[in-house]
Symmetry: C2
Subunit: 467 residues, 2 copies
């Protein structure tokens, strides 16, 4: 599973992109739930995984750019630890798996970094996102924990994003494995989505599937709700009723912690009502439109706006929107129904490298982030390149609070027929999401496609028995 | 579900135990996995839950002891939040559920606490265990985050432990609910424990059961391993083989976050070998011995040592130990086989209040913690009182590294027959664990007893089909 050369080559490429100084990659520690010794599932830092591969707490990766020397700080276990944790490989053995010759006890990091500090060498580190890492770097560098992020290395951030954005075959393999677990989660939800069951029962069962395979973790907290109009809904307390739409947005991690992320919206009871099917079909058309456009060189914002056009046309046919489609999209009228972005990068993180700054990952000098409501939420706007992996996740939602606000304020009233909307106020929301790999001349799906066309979904839900 | 009077009465009792000043209870925030917005399952701080009951991030509970005023700091949601999170109750509505009249925006906490600071009033808070809370209190009180714990209030710690140690009916109800979920987890594992399945598949499935019910969480990371001799084994990578012992130590949280914690050790394939059954029977006898002794007024260390005697007698009968049983226990010879404590308090935390200091919870002036290997790991040693809830979890393990160390060093060689041990070196480990409530004149089990007697376990595993 470990391929030392992969990690050596990644570090060498990183080294070639940076100037002089040292680089510190603090791995993650255990994260306590309700007292220090009661931890959540351990999750290693993604950049640490990318460059060092070791999936255990309390390690620090270190690169001396001038000496060309890589080192891992971490402690060997003692006899007392063996009673509680079992026999463990030595630090030396672990480091060799990552192609590293040098190891040192964790407490030595202070001395080594102190030396670099005292000679004024540049010290590169990524912006920490866990309080524990902020405190660690604060102690190490003599900084106030709250201000550590300000000292993160822009040069390092840029280089890491450049490397991690383009997925190699090794990574695509892992993404496929994560997708296979995600497929099982989604089809299990399809089998369970019937009247009388609670959201929590389905969510718990499908998270159990993620826990049973790969790294044993979901890639993000499961969204599974009959209130799909709430975009990041983590409430699972409702009981499903016939006629509900159940929105399921979930994914798993492969053994090496690569993510999957798919969304399906299911008719509880197994059949879409004609009204649901009309809206659903627009969202399927939107997904397929995006897939048909994704290729190297196209800006993802262009794809996002084309999808907004598909949604606007579809809603216009149903009489919910009106006027000229292009003008509606330019004015952001679609965003009342589709208030989020078309997608984001995906890799070791489900929102890949979001800790390094959304705009650093998804935008550049050529493509600046929009400030218009809706498009402003698009996480990835810039031109695509071969090897990028991204999500394609349009949706149509009827959000009562937002509809009421726009109606009251007359926002985009030339493009929206608010009177027609009244019968949709309890409709809920539909989102569909596939994961795409940008290839040399277009794109392809990551993983087998989870049933998505309305007939296909109904067929699947009919043909299978409940678990 | 919320009973405002319960929370009011708990705060009033706390107030009556403290002197003057103010008390700050920082609730927990979201805990990031791999970037700020990608959080683990939210887990509220247990003392916050006990006194304020509100189960959501970014709240601060506040008590003015002199004015008799309680307050919750937290922010109401904005329209943008409603799009992502759905409609939410107001802070005012939330506070009323906890019987609190006063609320204020989160940023006001600085001003209110600053006022108390500037007038030199005592400021009480519990020792924080999350880095985020250390940083929060550091900012609030002008302290270095690493040193905040030193300023925690011993008076508050003592009072909280006194209150939380004795469970009221409301809490016992919740513990029973947690136990019912734990029962389902354990019996599911019994149905699945067959040759060829991986530990991870069973662990994932039974965690899925915890996620499907109650608070939707395990009470601690599941231990599920064919290497039960490793006490805190969180590796789940093995495939089960016929003849293995599978140790399963797991529990769930009830809706209000009360814990369950049970252990069973199962024969993969459904039948114990005679050798396994011999050791297993000693552990069952040890559990039953403890249950027969637990009552108000007895020190749990006395129960622990009596159990050590049962284990020593049993192993002596098998020829693995020798000499006088009492002398063996006094010398800690049993601890090579039973190197941990008999149990710990359980409540809102599986190791209840461990964040407040194990010795503060489990020991007092009358009963000081032992320093002898084995008994030193006993988390609860002091005299029991009615209303305590505790675990009863003896075990016998054959830990190769420990056996080798004792053999080499001749430790307790008068009580252990090292030559006989050779055929047990790959035996593994057995632990059994029930949860007990101390009643007026003895104790009773929390929850329905999970099959435990060897015949019962074999019958259960035989009689049921795999999932």
């Amino acid at each position: 599973m470990f391929k030392a050369e992969v990690y050596i080559s990644r570090r060498n490429r990183l080294r070639s992109m940076l100037g002089s100084g040292v680089v510190i990659f603090p791995g993650n520690g255990e994260s306590p739930m309700n007292y220090p010794a009661n931890g959540y599932h351990f999750r290693q830092d993604s950049s640490f995984l990318y460059f060092f591969g070791l999936d255990m707490p309390d390690l620090v990766g270190f690169m001396d750019l001038d000496e060309g020397m890589d080192l891992i700080f971490g402690n060997d276990v003692e006899i007392d630890d063996i009673i509680w944790m079992g026999p463990q490989p030595s630090m030396q053995e672990l480091a060799q798996k990552a192609g590293i010759q040098h190891t040192a006890p964790l407490q030595n990091v202070q001395e080594v970094v102190g030396q670099a500090l005292s000679t004024g060498r540049p010290i590169h580190f990524l912006p920490p996102y866990r309080a524990e890492s902020k405190m660690f770097l604060g102690r190490l560098l003599g900084l106030i924990p709250d201000r550590v992020r300000e000292h993160a290395s822009r040069e390092l951030v840029k280089a890491v994003i450049r490397l991690r954005s383009k997925k190699d075959r090794f990574e695509i393999d892992e993404l496929e494995k994560a997708a296979a677990i995600g497929y099982r989660m989604h089809t299990a939800a399809m089998r369970m989505a019937r009247e009388g069951i609670t959201e929590r029962e389905i969510a718990g069962h499908i998270e159990g599937i993620a826990l049973s395979h790969g790294a044993g973790s979901v890639s993000f907290p499961i969204i599974l709700t009959r209130n799909g109009q709430t975009l990041h809904n983590h409430d699972h307390s409702n009981t499903l009723r016939k006629g509900d739409l159940l929105l399921v947005d979930c994914g798993a991690e492969s053994e090496l912690h690569y993510a999957s992320d798919n969304t399906r919206t299911l008719p509880v009871g197994g059949t879409f009502s004609p009204k649901q099917r009309d809206i659903y079909q627009i969202v399927v058309d939107a997904v397929d439109k995006a897939t048909s456009m994704v290729r190297p060189g196209i800006a993802y914002r262009e794809v996002h706006l084309a999808v907004a056009g598909v949604i606007t046309s579809g809603l216009k046919e149903l009489g919910l929107m009106k006027g000229n489609v292009s003008d509606a999209v330019i004015n952001g009228a679609h965003a009342m129904f589709f208030p989020h972005g078309l997608g984001h990068m995906m890799g070791l993180d489900v929102h890949d490298m979001e800790d390094l700054g959304e705009n650093n990952v998804g935008y550049d000098d050529e493509t600046r982030r929009s400030t218009q409501f809706g498009t402003a939420y698009l996480r990835l706007g810039k031109k695509l390149e071969e090897g990028y992996v991204l999500t394609n996740e349009p949706g149509i939602y009827f959000i009562p609070a937002l509809i009421e606000q726009w109606r009251r304020e007359g926002t985009n009233k030339d493009f929206i027929d608010f009177s027609k909307l009244e019968s949709y106020i309890t409709f809920g929301g539909i989102r569909l999401e596939d994961d795409l790999l940008v290839t040399g001349d277009g794109c392809r799906l990551i993983g087998e496609r989870i049933p998505i066309y309305p007939g296909e979904v109904e067929e699947f839900m009919k043909g299978t028995t409940s678990v």
